[in-house]
Symmetry: C2
Subunit: 298 residues, 2 copies
Amino acid sequence: MLEQVEALMREYVESIGDSKSLELYDKVPKGKRLRAKLILKIAGESIEAIELASVVELIHAASLLHDDVIDEADTRRGVVSINHKFGNMTAIMLGDILYSKGFAKLTDLPNCVAKSVSSAVTKLSVGELLDVELAENFNINQEVYFDMIYKKTASLIESCAYSAAYLAKKDTTKYALYGRNLGLAFQIIDDVLDITSSSEILGKPSLNDFREGKTTLPYLYMYEKLNEDDKNILLSYFKKDLNKNEAQWIREKITDTEAVEDSIKYAKKLGLEALDSIKDENLPELEKIITDMIVREF
Amino acid sequence: MLEQVEALMREYVESIGDSKSLELYDKVPKGKRLRAKLILKIAGESIEAIELASVVELIHAASLLHDDVIDEADTRRGVVSINHKFGNMTAIMLGDILYSKGFAKLTDLPNCVAKSVSSAVTKLSVGELLDVELAENFNINQEVYFDMIYKKTASLIESCAYSAAYLAKKDTTKYALYGRNLGLAFQIIDDVLDITSSSEILGKPSLNDFREGKTTLPYLYMYEKLNEDDKNILLSYFKKDLNKNEAQWIREKITDTEAVEDSIKYAKKLGLEALDSIKDENLPELEKIITDMIVREF
């Protein structure tokens, strides 16, 4: 089924009729296609489900292309990023092409699905802006962090679950809630992995988020537990080019305050809440998605 | 009517619920709102027409934000551009926000309008890519130039005319053809103005296109008429940092070959073709749009 999604995505790009676009698209790292898997698991094997999955993955790929330009990322999942290989201009333009093709194909799907996905993409774009904005200062506000990751990551996953449920005539409210909590948990684990994974696995330097000024949940939890002196030390490291000792100090404080464990605990709690909202739906595979997402290395 | 479009555009951005987005949006240069005027002239004073005009202008503004990042433009219509003032990242993100909001509101309009506008935006994005790609070498192929400007500029104007005609239950084929030719003529005049306007009026240095490697219609016409020696001189200036004498040589050759006059003549021919396709529609104001577009300074 996932192969059909890959094939349809490529077909969509091919149908644009521009050889350069297709050539570039073939060089975009494929990713885990998590959103497509989620849609197919909820909606089952219908043509509309495959179309929705292809549209969403095309839009997601577009957002990552722009994301990498914004983050000045050289790699994506260990593979050289399009912006690094072909320049920012090409990455922006290819992103716009994939976005607009995704939106154009969205008009073939039911109107409420098109509405849901397109307004999720607006949230996603605002989430990107908030993410960058929050990194301008040392953010210690958890509510603001959760609002940002909801917009940046969870809103599209929520819309996938909602839209897939709609196509399969299932309870959209329950699935939207499942998707929302799944999305939040997913982003928290992503933020944890930035601390716990080695740079080889993640394809970017470890503690990368902190270096960029991003105080994700583990940092927020750590900060809460530090004494005043240590809080000031941490604040003084904000956006600093950390040396080995400073990075080591941060790692130790993260360990001492159990900030990573608490973040994983919170992600698991969200995962259980996600499962709770669809407990009567009898779809054991959706449990597996939650487990896969929380217990992962990259 | 145009004020209602301005108000609705702002309302759309405000409804996103992010103060930073609205703050940035208020700093985006407004432009001539040509596409909105065209829609309102064709479709008349309906709520749907105002909605369509607002959506299209939001999408057009998004495309210009990305366009300015790609062209590394410091100004837009003499006003400091968003990328220059707030950085490329902000311009990309704001562009994505306006694009996605535009697409989200498009789902409130009839499906065939949503289809037409969204697929025009795909063409527009491909047109941007082609524009950059063509500038990599000295393009002397007129067909390739026309295909590029159709995609980059005319496709969205064609879709505006088509969609407005659809809303007003007019003949969509006739209006689409009107819009297509109008869009082509508009871009040719834009390309002519890059040569004939002083940098003060245009807000960017004159002969800017040639400096960027873009051989627009006047250069294509000039090249055609040059002798072999002059052709080689022109080729040697490709993407060169032109000194005063070289720029002067180009201007003289443009004058000698009547390349600007021929380009304007061709734009006028397209304008007449546009008018011809709606000659039975009895809308004298659409004639004025053509005239305004061809006889303009910026």
